[in-house]
Amino acid sequence: MVMEPPAKPKKKEASGQKLSKKWVGQPIKRREDPRLLTGRGTFVDDITVPNMHHAAILRSPHAHARIISYDTREALNHPGVLAVLTGEEVGQMSKPFPVGVVAPFKYYSAAVGKVRYVGEPVAVVVASDRYVAEDAVELIQVEYESLPPIVNVEAAVEADAPVLHEELGNNIGCHRLLNYGDVDQAFEEADLVLKERFVFPRYSSLPLETYAVIADYDAITKMFTVHSNFMGPFSMHAVAARALDIDENKLRFIVPSDIGGSFGIKSSIYPYMVLLSLASKKAGKPVKWIEDRQEHLMASSCQTDRVAYREVAVKKDGTLLGVKSKILENVGAYLRAPEPACTFRPIGNFVGPYKVRNVQIDAYDVMTNKCPTGPNRGYGCQQIYFEQERMMDKVAEELKLDPIEVRRQNLIPAEAMPYTTPMGGIYDSGDYPKGIDLVVEMSQYTKLRETQKKARSEGRLFGIGIAAGVDPSVSNMGYITIALPPEFRARPGYLPKSGSAESATIQMNQRGKVSVTMGTTPQGQGHETVVTQIVADELGITPDDVVVVDEFDTAKHGWSISSGTYASRFASVGTSAAVLAARKLKKKIIHLAAALLSAPEEDLIIEEGKVFAKDDPDKNMTVKRVAGTAHWNHELLPDDIEAGLQARAVFRFPSNVAPDPQDRVNSSNTYGFMVEIAVVEVDPDSGQVKILDWFSVHDAGTIINPMILEGQVYGGALHGIGGALYEELAYDEEGQFLTGSFMHYVCPTSVEAPVLKIGHTCSPSPLTPLGSKGAGESSSETAPAAIAGAVGDALRPLGINVNELPLNPKKVWALLHPSQEK
C-alpha cells in the first residue's frame, strides 16, 4: 500500500497547542481491510489450540423452575464424550459473580438449584467434536419442578409477585431515589405539568459473530488461559477471577485481532468464559465453545426493556423547570455486572442538552424471568432520550409551539461551556444551538412543514420527528457506584471508584519504523488505521511507516481495569494514549539526538524523517540514524538514556472523581452532541412506517478519520432504527422466548436502510490532546426517539399517542384500529 500525502496539510487548534496535522482529519483507507477482504482475518473460531475439544450447552426450557435432579449417565457413555459439567458442580467449583449492589442474591455461570430464564445454562458437555457434544446434550435428563414465572416489570415489583431469588425476598436488585436541585419547587412554579408512561422494548445490536470461547486450564500451574471475543471493560476480568476464586494474574484473557461486531453485547460474555473454564478444568482439556444463533438470541445479553413514568414542569414559554422520572428497568433474571449501569451510565447527561436544573430520578432495577441484560450500543441513553424527546414534543403540542422552538428554548448555550449538569456531568465543550441550526437548514425544516401540511390535506399520515441528545463517551468507572447508597460509600474501608485510563505502547526499530500496541479490543472501529494516522503526525512520518497490531493479552499488554473498547472510548481516550506515547517516544529521540549532535534539546525539531537544529539546519541527522544508534550502538548512549526506543503512556482524565455524597458524578468524560430529523409516512392500511428522509448532525470534536466516523454514524443510526421499527426480543407471559431465529427477530437489510444526510459541527474537547470525542454510539441513542417522534407526529391528527416501541406494522395497526386490537 503506497500512500500519497494529502494535498493540503490541515492546521488544527486544540488544547491551546498549534498542531500541524497531515494525516489526522483524512479519510484514509483502513489498514484492517485487506485481511478481512481476503478471508485472512483472525476471529476466535479461526483459532485452534493443541488437543482442543468442543463444548455444547444444555439450556433450560423453563422460565422459572427448581432443578430436582440430573442424570448424565447416558451422555457420559456416548462415544466421544469426555465430560459433563452440571450447574450443581458449577456451584461447587466457583463462587457467585460479584456485582456492585447491596442486594444479596447469587449469580453463577450456570443454574444452581433453580433456573430463572429460558436458555439459562444447565449443563455443559465436552466432547471430541461439536456434533458429538450436541448429540450428548440431548441425552442428559434433568427433572424440573416448574415455578410461576414473572416477566412483566411492573407486575414484578408488586407485593404478590413470584420471587426469583428467595434470599432477596423481592425482585428489586437495586433502588435509588436521586434528587438534584429543588424538584418540588419547580413543580409548584410550573404553568403546566405533563405526565406520561413510556415503554421501551428489549432489543440487541446483535453482532453477526456470536460469542466464542476457548478455555484452557493448566492443572499444574493452576492457570486459566481464555481466548474469546470479549471486548472489555476489563473490570469484568476481575469479576471473572473472583468467580473462579483465583488471583487475577492466573486468569489470562486473549482477544484476537478480529471481533465480528459487538456493540456492547460481548461485554457480557464473561460468564461463559468462566463456565468454559470450569468445563476445561473438569475435562482436563482445552475446550472451544461457539455459541449458535438461537443461543445468542435467547441467552447472551441485550439491553433492558423498561417502563418509565415521566413528569415535566414547564413554563408557558416552554421553559423546562423540572423533570421527574420513575424508571422500572427490567434487567432479567440476574442483576449481572456491569449492571445496573444501564440506569446510571447516563446519569451525568440525564437531561441531555437542556438546561433544566431540577431533576428527580426514582430508579428500580428489577429482576424477572428473562435473559440477563448488559451493555448495548447507547447503553441507557436511547431509553432516556426516547422519554425526554417525547416529552418535549408533548410540551410543544400542549403549548402550541413548534417542537424545534421548544428545544431551542431549553438548550444549554455555547457560552456556558464547560457546563456542569445538576447530576454532576461536566460537558466539556459543545455548541448545541449551532447543531440545531444546521439540522434545520439541512432539512429545510420550514419547507418540510409545508410539505407535511400538503400531505395531511391529502389525508396522508406524514410525520416529522426531532431528537437531540448529548453523547457521553469514556465512562468514569465511578458512576456505577451511584447504585450504592451514599452511606455505604462513606463506610470506612470502602474503596471508592473513579477513572477511565487507557494505555498505548510504541516502539521504533533500528531503521526508524514504528510498531504500536493498544489496550483496546476493537470490533470493527478501525483502530489500527486511526493510530497510524495519529502516530504519523506526531512523529513526522507516514502511516505506512507504522504497524499497529490489534490483539489483546492480559499477560502481555499494558492495561488497567478500565481498558477495553466500550462506552465510545477509543476516539477520546485511546487516541489520547497513542498521542502521549508517540510524544514520549519523540522526546526520547530528541534527547538522544541532542547528545549525538551536541546541540541543546530545545533547539531540535523533527521534520520529514530528520532531526535538526532550528537555527542551524546543517546540524542534523536522520531519525533512522538516531534509532540505529539506540538499538545497535549503546556505547554512544548517555547514561540517562535507555537502550532501544520504546515508550508506554497511560492517558487519564483529571475530571474523573468518585460520586459525591449528594450522588453527583461526572459519569463520562467527553460529551458530544447529535440531533436527528426523521421524516416518515405511515401506511394506514398495513401499519408500515416508511422513512422518507433523515438528517443527522453530529459534534464529535476533532474528526480524525471522517470516513470511519460516518460509518459509525450509519451503523449506530440503523441500530436505533432497527430497535424502533423491527427488532424485539419477545417473551410470552409464561416467559417462553418467542424470537429465537432471524425469521422472528427481524433485522433491517439493505432495502430498509435509509440514506442519512449527515452534517458535522466541531467543538474540540479541551480535555483530549487532539480535541476528539467518542462517536460510536451517538445516533443509536437518538434514532429511536426520532422515529417515535415522527410516527407520533404522523398520527397526531388522529389523536393517537405514541409512547411505546417498536413501531412495527402490528403495533402501528393496533394504534390505528384500537377497537380491533387483539
Binding site: 481491510d33 478481512l36 471481533i259 470516513m707 454514524v713 433485522c747
Partner: protein
C-alpha cells in the same frame, strides 16, 4: 451414532480435495474445519444472515444450509478465491475504497453476493443493488458503504472491459 463416512471430491478455488465426511457434516464446517478455509463465516446456521455465502458451480449458495456430501463433485469459490496473484478483485478493491466493511465478519458473504450480482447485471441501479444484497445481513455499516462499494465496483469493472 452416525459413524458412516462418505468419500467426496470437491474443487475449491481451483484446487481439488478428496475427503471422507460424515453425511451430516455441514458444507460450512467442511470448508472451515476440514479444509481450513476460515474465510467463510457462520453467522446464523439457518440461512438468513448470508455470512457463509459461497459460489457453488458459479451460483451463490448458503454453505450452512448444505451438507458437504451434497457438494460432491462441485466447483466452489470462497472468499479466498477472489483475489488473484496478490491483486484484489475489483469488488474487494471497491469495498476497501468505499468503507464497505467494519468488523469484516459479514464481508465474505457480501463480496460473493456482489460478485454474482455484477456478473448478472453489470449496470445495476442503486435500488437493484439494495434488492440484490437484501439476503445478506450487516450489523456495522448501516449498508450505505456496502451499496456504494458495489456501485463503485460496477463502474470499475466497466472500465476494465
Amino acid at each position: 451414532m452416525p459413524q458412516e463416512f462418505r468419500s467426496i471430491q470437491i474443487t475449491v478455488n481451483g484446487e481439488t480435495y478428496h475427503r471422507q465426511v460424515e453425511p451430516r457434516r455441514l458444507l460450512s464446517d467442511f470448508l472451515r474445519d476440514d479444509l481450513n478455509l476460515r474465510g467463510t463465516h457462520v453467522g446464523c446456521e439457518h440461512g438468513i444472515c448470508g455470512a457463509c455465502t459461497i459460489l457453488l458451480n458459479g451460483e451463490t449458495a448458503r454453505s450452512c444450509l448444505m451438507f458437504a456430501v451434497q457438494a460432491d463433485g462441485a466447483k466452489i469459490t470462497t472468499v479466498e478465491g477472489l483475489a488473484q496473484n496478490g491483486e484484489l478483485h475489483p469488488v474487494q478493491q471497491a469495498f476497501w475504497e468505499n468503507h464497505g466493511l467494519q468488523c469484516g465478519f459479514c464481508t465474505p458473504g457480501f463480496l460473493l453476493t456482489a460478485f454474482e450480482l455484477l456478473e448478472r447485471n453489470p449496470n445495476p441501479t442503486e435500488q437493484e443493488v439494495r434488492v440484490g444484497l437484501s439476503g445478506n445481513m450487516c450489523r456495522c455499516t448501516g449498508y450505505q458503504g456496502i451499496i456504494q462499494s458495489v456501485l463503485a465496483a460496477a463502474e470499475k469493472m466497466k472500465g476494465q472491459k
